[in-house]
């Protein structure tokens, strides 16, 4: 079964193994890692986290602004990054849906679409969602040139980038939580207590 293969890979994580084909694989991979708290030392989890983070930056899904947000969290604002991304995705998902609805109308009100995209651009830039910003700019460029036929295709591409980022960020933030929880000083006894959480 696929999960077992991933379990074996978890203990020898390298960048190539994290380089999953698409976001669904990434989510499965991370879920597999998360089901192994007793088997994996936290050092391995930390390595997973660092590799995942570097990949997000290397593949330019995230940019310098994301690093700024991390620094803000480091200055004593726990869960700041998670808070910001949760706010962002709540708004961005709604905005994208409403743009989709607007594109289905006849005639399409492109000024409304552009206003929504402008807002999305601002939000996305604020969290460092680099690829999303690029797609938004592309779509807005097409609207400005009155190239309306290509808009639907570009919208689909934008949605794809957004959903990919969402999936990967959810996985990343979940792993981040896992790592941070494991690194908290233990309270009470820890004589291998949680025996029933071992995965089968």
């Amino acid at each position: 079964m696929r999960i077992q293969i991933l379990e074996a890979q978890c203990s020898n994580a390298t960048a190539s193994k994290v380089r999953c084909v698409h976001s669904q694989s990434a989510a499965v991979y991370i879920r597999a890692c998360l089901s192994l708290p007793m088997k994996m030392a936290n050092g391995d989890l930390r390595q997973q986290l660092a590799t995942m983070r570097q990949l997000l930056l290397d593949e330019e899904l995230l940019d310098e602004q994301f690093i700024q947000l991390e620094e803000l969290e480091a200055e004593g604002n726990p869960n700041f990054v998670e808070e910001v991304f949760s706010l962002y995705f709540r708004d961005s998902t709604k905005t994208l849906e409403s743009v989709g609805q607007m594109l289905k109308k006849t005639p399409v009100e492109f000024d409304k679409v552009d206003r929504a995209l402008h807002m999305l651009k601002g939000n996305s830039a604020s969290v460092g969602a680099n690829k999303v910003v690029n797609e938004v700019n592309q779509m807005r460029g097409l609207i400005e040139e009155n190239s309306f036929e290509s808009c639907n295709a570009t919208y689909e591409q934008l949605k794809k980038e957004h959903d990919e980022l969402k999936g990967k960020m959810e996985a990343y933030l979940q792993l981040l939580k896992q790592v941070e929880a494991a690194e908290k000083p233990r309270q009470g006894n820890d004589q291998g207590s949680a025996s029933d959480t071992e995965s089968s």
Partner: protein, 135 residues
């Protein structure tokens, strides 16, 4: 410069107060935290009208971070209104507009400074240092 370096350079606790004017929750949260880290006590409102109203209630701020595009009353109108009211606080426009004409219109409304979103520690520090020199 990193946030920690920024902290060691400036110590503004109690000296500077700020008002964040932005309808976007993501920007609100980020700007609020940025200001907190620099020790700047700050309020957050969601549009230009609320910014005007908070001033009408008697509150004053050293610094106003004014977003351009907001519902009810946008940043340009709010800036003009505040200047007409005699408010001399430092108003820094923050916007995701990069077209120079739009930027110019905003600046002419009465801004002291203008920065493109997203705001960073470095950008905020450059705005704040202007306030310190003003005082």
């Amino acid at each position: 410069m990193s946030t920690s370096q920024a902290l060691s350079v400036t110590s503004l606790k109690g000296e500077v107060t700020a008002l964040v004017v932005d309808d976007d929750k993501v920007s609100q949260v980020i700007h609020h935290h940025l200001l907190n880290i620099l020790g700047i006590e700050n309020h957050v409102v969601g549009n230009g009208k609320e910014a005007v109203e908070i001033h009408l209630s008697g509150k004053k701020f050293n610094l106003i971070l004014m977003d351009r595009d907001m519902p009810v009353m946008n940043g340009i109108e709010a800036t003009k209104k505040l200047r007409d009211m005699g408010i001399r606080s430092t108003i820094a426009g923050v916007s995701s507009h990069s077209v120079s004409q739009e930027r110019q219109a905003f600046i002419e409304a009465g801004l002291d400074d203008y920065h493109e979103k997203p705001l960073s520690v470095a950008k905020l520090l450059s705005v704040v240092s202007k306030i310190m020199h003003k005082a």
